[in-house]
Symmetry: C2
Subunit: 112 residues, 2 copies
């Protein structure tokens, strides 16, 4: 989200969403995890995303200091993505979000 009104909002949660908002951001961070992943691997894992959007989102995450990009001068070319310290700090929070959602799903099943 490059929405200027969001980035400069006085609401802290709104500013947070200007970085993490968007359909794919949290999903990509989650799939990166603690590993170094190549572009093609990421595209396979998150199969619903198109390569174009994947490139864009990774670039935004890199600009925000969440993802690190390392390109190797090889042939065929190799590019590896990994989380920075800042990005790694998000992982435990994402784990809580996931379990929050899972607990809701099991509660629904129990109620039915």
């Amino acid at each position: 989200m490059k929405d200027a009104a969001f980035c400069t909002s006085s609401c802290p949660m709104t500013r947070t969403m200007s970085v993490l908002g968007g359909k794919w951001k949290l999903i990509l961070i989650d799939h990166l995890g603690e590993r170094r992943v190549r572009f093609g691997q990421l595209a396979q894992r998150v199969s619903l995303i198109s390569r174009k959007v994947l490139t864009e989102q990774l670039k935004e995450l890199e600009d925000d200091g969440i993802v690190r990009r390392e390109a190797f001068a090889e042939l065929p070319p190799r590019v590896e993505y990994s989380l920075t310290a800042h990005g790694l700090a998000l992982l435990p929070i994402l784990a809580q979000l996931r379990s929050w959602h899972c607990s809701a799903a099991t509660a629904e099943v129990a109620a039915a």
Copy 2:
């Protein structure tokens, strides 16, 4: 997000985003907090959102069991929104997200 491919994805984080994804969801949950808030109050607090979208997002959150809506048969009409137990469980996680983003902002200032 009513995207069917998201809701039925095998990836837990993707399914989580089908509920919490979207520009406004987390911001609205954050502004509701532990209080009961009237529709008009919410529209004032989150001034960037239009009333139309506010109605839509609240309805989706209600369908997902995160928000409770109580309408009173008065004149002029009064409608109060509050978080369900499920929604309340998100608040500590949102607090972590906020402080994660704040710590990043102060680190940038320190680096500059």
